[in-house]
Amino acid sequence: MSDYELRTVLDSSGGAGDHDSGLSDAELMHCYRSMLMVRAFDDTAMKLQRSGRIGFSIPNRGIEATQVGAASALRTTDWIFPSYRDFGMALYHGVSATDMMHNMFGNALDASKGRQMPVHFSFEEPIHFVSISSPIGTHIPQGVGAAHAMKLRGEDSVALISFGDGGTSSLGFHSGLNFAGVWKSPAVFLCQNNGYAISMPTEKQTASDGFAVKGEAYGIPAILVDGNDLLAVRQATAEGVARARAGDGPTLIEAKTFRMGGHSTSDDPSKYVPKELLDEWEEKDPVPRFEAYLASKGLWVEGDRETLYSGCMAEVKEAADLAQATPLPSLETIFSDVYEEVPQHIRSQGEEAYDLLRRKGDAGGGGGEFPL
């Protein structure tokens, strides 16, 4: 058995004893609505993908409490180095569904200007939600570097670096945690152990007893927390954040949760996730668990979920419609942002692309003179 006891705050009926979450009623409701927004976004994205309006999405179902609980422990001056399954962190901090949908459609208003696949978000406001790349674990030492910059400047900001169980096998996990341990970086590493890395179960990912224990070798204190317990994740993250702000260095958090959907909209998890396991985790759904807590505080009654969820769906649908109606990026966006200034050879290639359009017709987008 692991030396790390699974921390929980909420019992299965929503009781929290005398736990003080530090959240006002309005903030608790914001957490709740953020989880429902993730769910609405997921459900909408799945429909959009199945109907061919977008090419790809990543389901978050089951992980919402980990995302929102962790995000709730941050200030907007902190930086999030997210994984691709962290929609709730952005939504909690006020990134609009519309800005996220612009990315899903890869349109002209997408921060990435349609250069990345869906779910590879990048936001600077209202919080640094750092541009996501597909290679796994590369962002871990980057987050440590950003945290080191905060420390050198004497800021009390923190980098929250989020990754899955699969990410712990990456080169970046080792180098990132090793550097952070040595440098005492103001970083919080959030390992979302959601059971599978695409189709690989955790027992094939590592022979160690879970992931929290891996912190020890780097001299980094670790916390094992119930990832479906929003208040416990918030508490664990807040503890790590407080350590970081106080100059006491990094913390590793393993949030034990479960990915209830596929890896992506292209994945069929029924081929490798046993039905019994899904049923077991369905019982631990973070949303009703948090609802029971809210109910115990007089903040929630039966029927509230449906009402709030339909509001979320309306918001997400409006965002999707807006994003779909937004023009595609213009052709010159292929050639811009490679460097701050467009070098001559890239400019020449852009001019060739525009010239071909003039001579041979539009291949689907763009037109006119090369403007860069």
Partner: protein, 324 residues
């Protein structure tokens, strides 16, 4: 003006940039109190303190990854990779991350940083202390690749690279660290990262080269001159993005081109020079566009002097294209 070695000029460039901008940090393996295995960072920790010049764990991936995070959060990191041969654990960070960050975030996040690394042969370093990996990196949009061949350029290009808004791989020809001396201005100055340097003018044959091959080509050109062949030598110095107009103008001037590098030939940097000329200046060519390069083998140890292009091999190529 001070007469410095190329190594001292690198050191001067680092100190100058650190004095001018407190956001400039230097880090890597053994770069602190020891001053680096070649002493390029000697004296930095004592002048600027351990917060601005420090040793890191032995992890190229971590060094470059952390540099990217620092760069995106307002610092100007100058990371050292002890030998270019050891850079490959950081290949993902350089190619997938630093080079693509501006593009993939639409400019929200950028990585203004420099990765300095000694490259090339000439020190009996064998397979793993001798390689010239420029071609891997010149194939990477978003990255700049620079290599100086004189002390003046080493300092000026390095300061320009540190000030540049985009990530720069700064390849230092270790064979020239102590063998080349030259005048280096005091204080801060930059050498433009988008131009070639005409090492010597000539009108019969054009030789393109960079880094440690520049003095080799100069010597070959001097010997060719003695037998009546006038050779123009161009130091490419910023390999990517390349001053293609400068290359084309120099190629058209003589119609006879030799490109020289230490790296293996196949898909090597000279292949791109040859292709640019073939596509855009073929009508000016009087002889086959020719390459003098390392062999398509790993880099040997005992026999490295046979592997590395020397002035005889370059002279031989000059004579062949001249006689064609």
């Amino acid at each position: 003006m001070a007469i410095l070695t190329l190594l001292q000029a690198v050191n001067e460039g680092l100190k100058t940039a650190m004095r001018d901008d407190s956001n400039v940090l230097v880090f890597g393996e053994d770069v602190g109190p020891k001053g680096g295995v070649f002493l390029a960072t000697e004296g930095l920790t004592s002048e600027f303190g351990e917060e601005r010049c420090f040793d890191t764990p032995l992890s190229e991936d971590g060094i470059v990854g952390a540099a990217i995070g620092m760069a995106m959060n307002g610092l100007r990191p100058v990371a050292e990779i002890q030998f270019q041969d050891f850079i490959f654990p950081a290949f993902d960070q350089i190619v997938s991350e630093a080079a693509k960050l501006r593009y993939r975030s639409g400019g929200q996040y950028t990585a203004p940083m420099v990765i300095r690394t000694p490259y090339g042969g000439g020190i009996r370093g064998g397979l793993y202390h001798s390689q010239s990996g420029e071609a891997y990196f010149c194939h990477t949009p978003g990255l700049k690749v620079v290599t100086p061949s004189t002390p003046h350029d080493a300092k000026g290009l390095l300061i320009a690279a540190i000030q540049d808004p985009d990530p720069v791989l700064f390849l230092e020809p270790k064979a020239l660290y102590r063998s080349v001396k030259g005048e280096v201005p005091e204080g801060s100055y930059t050498v433009d990262l988008s131009t070639t340097r005409t090492v010597r003018e000539g009108d019969a044959v054009t030789v393109f080269c960079y880094g440690a091959m520049v003095p080799v080509c100069e010597k070959a050109a001097e010997q060719a001159e003695e037998s009546g062949i006038s050779v123009e030598v161009i130091d490419l110095r910023t390999l990517y993005p390349l001053d293609e107009q400068g290359v084309l103008a120099a190629a058209k001037k003589t119609g006879r081109v030799v490109t020289v590098h230490e790296a293996p030939r196949f898909c090597g940097y000279a292949a791109e020079i040859s292709a640019i000329i073939a596509e855009r200046a073929i009508e000016y060519m009087e002889a086959p566009v020719t390459r003098v390069t390392g062999f398509d083998t790993p880099f040997p140890n005992t026999l490295e002097h046979h592997y590395l292009p020397d002035h005889r091999r370059v002279l031989d190529a000059i004579e062949r294209v001249h006689a064609f």
